[in-house]
Subunit: 334 residues, 2 copies
């Protein structure tokens, strides 16, 4: 695929308009977008990727804004860092949540050239959105942003999958969560590197902190490690309290984020997370390619006829799948 060399060069040079154009190509799954990503990939691997997930109503968007502001205006003589924010909404198009969040976001952050914001909504398959998000994050990484924050709306498996693509995963909760939603939360806590109780001025914050610490204890049993004699330091996810609307607790949160990055680098976990992220991406792309190749190699009528045989219970779905995918004699990888 022939790409305008200009586009790739302009993105690497940090120009905003070509970057926005590239992201649209990537979101639309356009071949030029993929070709540009192929060339840009050599420039990736420098940004600190931070996933932000957690319950709806926890004030995630406001907190992400505050993190971005703190990174732009560091307190103690540290250098300011450039920040890209990707807001992903995998829920139904008729919720409208992303649009509302964006308006608040624009008011706080607009006009700072060191901040770039992109919203992505689901337009069909969840798998498609996850793939597009991966591409968008790679483009922002290649464009030279120090920090890429990926925020997901909602708290389902899709959000967890997207958040897991990061070096550091923040899980945001609000006080007063009921016992009934622990089932959802348990899965999310397992992926948390840093836990944040936002709205820490609301009632019930102490019991929420206690409940989360208890659940973390289950997920990260620190006691069992004292017998192994391992010298690798273990990361115990801190439980922090913030009030995003009053900018309280934000500096401590940014400090924890930086501490986690330092931990990842010191232990080799940074590279391990990179590897596992790229492996997942490669496996998914292989699946897509295998499926594309298969569809191109088989007459659609044959699929329809086989499906009709399944519908009339002449063959089972498994037998049908076997028939439609005879093992291949050999493969010639390039």
């Amino acid at each position: 695929m022939n790409v305008k060399h200009d586009l790739v060069e302009s993105v690497v040079a940090g120009k905003r308009l070509p970057l926005a154009r590239l992201l649209t190509l990537v979101e639309n799954n356009a071949p030029e977008g993929q070709a540009a990503l192929d060339q840009l990939f050599a420039h990736t691997g420098r940004a600190h990727l931070i996933g932000v997930t957690g319950s709806p109503g926890s004030g995630k968007s406001s907190l992400v804004n505050q993190i971005a502001l703190a990174l732009r205006n560091p307190s103690s003589g540290k250098p300011a860092r450039s920040v890209a924010i990707v807001a992903v909404d995998p829920t139904s198009p008729f919720t409208g949540g992303a649009v509302l969040g964006d308006r608040v976001r624009m008011r706080d952050l607009a006009g700072d050239p060191g901040i770039f914001i992109r919203s992505m909504a689901s337009r069909g398959a969840l798998g498609g959105l996850a793939r597009a998000t991966t591409g968008v994050v790679q483009a922002l990484d290649a464009a030279g942003f120090d920090i890429v924050l990926v925020e997901t709306v909602g708290a389902g498996q899709a959000e967890v999958d997207i958040a897991r693509l990061a070096h550091t995963t923040l899980v945001i909760e609000a006080p007063g969560m009921g016992d009934d939603i622990q089932a959802i939360k348990a899965g999310i806590l397992e992926i948390a590197d840093i836990l944040v109780i936002n709205k820490a001025d609301h009632p019930g914050v102490d019991s929420t902190v206690r409940a989360l610490r208890a659940m973390l204890e289950l997920g990260h049993p620190t006691h069992s490690h004292s017998f192994t004699g391992s010298t690798t330091p273990l990361w115990i996810p801190p439980v922090l309290q913030t009030i995003a609307t009053q900018s309280e607790g934000i500096d401590e949160l940014v400090e924890a984020i930086d501490r986690h990055a330092a931990y990842l680098h010191a232990t080799g976990a940074w590279q391990a997370r990179d590897r596992s992220r790229l492996q997942v991406e490669l496996e998914q792309l292989v699946q897509v390619e295998l499926n594309n190749n298969w569809r191109a190699s088989i007459p659609p009528e044959l699929i329809q006829e086989t499906l009709a045989q399944v519908e009339t219970r002449q063959i089972s779905p498994y037998q049908a799948a076997k028939q439609l995918t005879q093992p291949l004699p050999e493969l010639h990888p390039g």
Copy 2:
């Protein structure tokens, strides 16, 4: 694959112990289980498959028990129907929710030979659980149960995917849901054939009914249809109120379930849902087969070497996937 012919015959004859043994084989993804399912598939397609999903804490399990009891002991001279219940827990193994629900369930339903209960927990990949659930439901269908109720714990995408495999999908809510969780609910409401507000004696039931009706209105815009002149009757999901702990509203719910089955049969939607379910299953099995064939045809070292090239940014993940899956010269479907 050679299966003990006995197993298949015993399951079709309605024997319980061989059925339980088959379900274990299916859950463990054992080749004998798949071979038995292949033979049993000709006997499927008769059960009414009902998916039950909704928020944790809505009292789903108690309600499912009450539905089963009502189907076993019908009020007005109707025949009793046999019922299989499949409880699926896709959340993390350490939530323990399924075990608790089972204990209550056993107390209510144990000893009735017309009821069969099976719990399934996630042991790894969500995709694996969804596939196993499909197989378990097919076995129960072939075993001759009139009704198969598939209940999922939690409210994420995985649960929605599992519930969607049914002819009729019940979405259960409790009163007093907050505005903040509407994002999750919106996606679930889209798949509801019948909406149930359980715990209808709790405060806030009227506003919850109002909110759900308003959201349904968005998802099923009935007004727009009045101009099309279509003569196909449209199914408007009813919003019902129940108190499972006091067996209130259960007969009305069973009536709505039967009305929905009659609607599906009258409009041809029953067959359409069957077809789309089998098509999804076939596509997923084809993906698994393609992936298995690919892994069998390619040296693992080559995958590792290619991944290393991606890690060192020599080639992009997309280029790597292309290299590892050269288009195939031809395929010989059996």
